[in-house]
Symmetry: C2
Subunit: 358 residues, 2 copies
């Protein structure tokens, strides 16, 4: 297995990445020296695929796990399901030393993480991401939370996991649409931090999407390394870390305006990245050719690139304004300078929309 | 004004204590370099007494404050009101730099603090405690959260305020019962950490309860110093800090079993401290005389000392078991060794109840 460490002094933790390693989870969690009782939070689809093997692995390591299922979908990432998880965790008799294990994608990870962060003011937390998006992005870095009617992830906390356990084999059961959505975040890392990864994707993004073990372990590790470095330098998004929001300002707005139902998160981010790249070119931060390369790669991944029809500029600006990244009326917009390098531009929501030609 | 600092490296913050200083709040919050918009969370009774002067003070310092009222009482410290606060804060247009100010007692402080901790993953937070209990205890140390049907404060997080602003004049409007309840926590500090304070209370607890400015500022400062020192050494209750839970294991159970309606928090803690002192003597951790001195002082403060009639041992043990302080089936029980010194005893819930003679 490959291991990447997120360096955060006493909150440092390992990300372990391998192929066909789900069975080893229990033993590794045991090494965290937690209590006996454990909760595995997952959704029905993931439970039917991997629930039994995760529970078996935990039981073999002498845990007493309780499987708790929540429905899939961003629309369930809310306070009601947050309360549901607390109810079931307390009912299962979890105490301060009991690990909570998130088995699934971003919704499961964010909700289980927020619950683990707040149950008894914080219990051990383990991420076992089973989607590409969660493996390369949302399971690492400690962002947890729920959505609010006013916007995405508006309620939550920073809470670092104690371990991230990634089995790339779980991606084989993923619908192709989900793999594509995950590629959006892989492309994001390439655009903001790694010209090398960008060129590699330009050469053969199809290879990654074929899900060969070796290629996947390599790409997931690379993305985790990039993210780990950013998070180590700026855990709570006081500065640098906000580059990871590239494409997210408009992406979140698109998700909110379509009630989290029309687009997967990665698809909305793809639209947001194309928007951000074009805006970067329009504002003179990067060459038009750079924006065109980014757009072409996103299109090749089979991802959407355009704001949906019928979404007018004013509505979009209002949705952006509700985003938590607004400070004193302005957004710290992540612009592309060149492939692998970004620049911040402080813009009002109206400027963002108008300057992009909406 | 007197100032006590809670030393927590980059999360250090001042506790400012004075008499008649509420008007100075706005200017001091301005010095935190927050954004313009602000939320003041309070309850109707406190709002009618101090809401206007706090809002005026903030407006004079060019803030745009929104007053948000929540009903008083532990039974409202729940996820529903937590969501209510988020709704109103987002509606008021708060962003990441907007301060949330808790103006009230422990319920307001815990709920507003949990909301500030989780709004946009954390906004600046200021405690302006107006009860004795909140001034000497709950406003300092960063514990925030809500109750759960299974027990007190089971859901929450550690989130340090950026400033604690204490005006002892606000205690003059407090019903005498509330002052007594606050004295329970003052007595707690004396028992666990300060023989000097204990003797002073034995000499004239009535002087403190008369609420003279000088005496109050002095006693509140002393309690804050004691708490600040403990919190600085152990922010997240990994060890030492749990001595502050003296009397709380049984106190919380009594609150839960009476639906948070019969006793004020301090009254339940008074019962819990008497229980803990007697158990300490029964287990040989302290002399019987020590337990008797503690009980006598608590009685002199006009506080209850006995578990309510009709509460049987089995029910009590079950309620204790649901407390978040249980780890692997045992409670780290805070026993008295002598006035000013404690000792931990790891006991099962059944032992706690049986050995105390229930």
């Amino acid at each position: 297995m490959e291991t990447v460490t997120v360096e955060l002094s006493e909150r440092s933790y390992p990300i372990a990445i391998g192929a066909g390693v789900l069975d080893g989870l229990g033993e590794r969690v045991r090494a965290l020296r937690c209590g006996r009782r454990a909760a595995v939070v997952t959704n029905p689809a993931v439970a039917s695929l991997y629930g039994a093997s995760v529970v078996d692995s935990l039981e073999s390591a002498s845990f007493e796990p309780t499987l708790i299922e929540i429905p899939d979908g961003e629309e369930h990432k809310n306070l009601a399901w947050f309360g549901f998880l607390h109810d079931h965790m307390l009912q299962a008799g979890l105490d301060r030393e009991s690990p909570v294990i998130a088995l699934g994608g971003g919704v499961v990870g964010d909700l289980a993480g927020f619950s683990a962060a707040t149950l008894l003011r914080g219990v051990p937390f383990v991420q076992v991401p089973t989607t590409l998006l969660a493996q390369v992005d949302s399971s690492v870095g400690g962002k947890t939370g729920v959505n609010h009617a006013n916007g995405k992830n508006l309620i939550g906390t920073f809470y670092q996991p104690h371990l991230v356990w990634i089995d790339v084999h779980t991606l084989r059961s993923l619908p192709e649409r989900q793999v594509r959505a995950g590629m959006a975040e892989v492309i994001k890392y390439a655009v903001i931090l790694s010209p090398g990864l960008f060129e590699r994707l330009e050469e053969g993004i199809e290879c990654v999407m074929r899900l060969d073990d070796d290629v996947l372990v390599d790409v997931v590790r690379l993305c985790c390394e990039l993210k780990a470095k950013v998070v180590s330098e700026d855990e709570r998004e006081a500065g640098l870390r906000s580059i990871l929001n590239f494409g997210h300002t408009v992406g979140h707005a698109v998700e909110v305006l379509t009630d989290y139902r029309e687009y997967l998160h990665g698809e909305a981010i793809a639209i947001g990245m194309v928007f951000a790249s074009r805006l970067s070119a329009a504002k003179g931060h990067c060459a038009g050719k750079t924006a065109a390369r980014i757009t072409a790669l996103i299109r090749r991944a089979g991802l959407p690139t355009e704001i949906p029809d019928g979404l007018d500029g004013e509505v979009l600006a209002a949705a952006i304004k509700a985003d938590k990244k607004v400070s004193s009326g302005k957004i710290k917009f992540v612009a592309v300078a060149e492939i692998g390098r970004t620049r911040f531009d402080h813009l009002t929501c109206e400027e963002i929309v108008a300057d992009a030609g909406y």
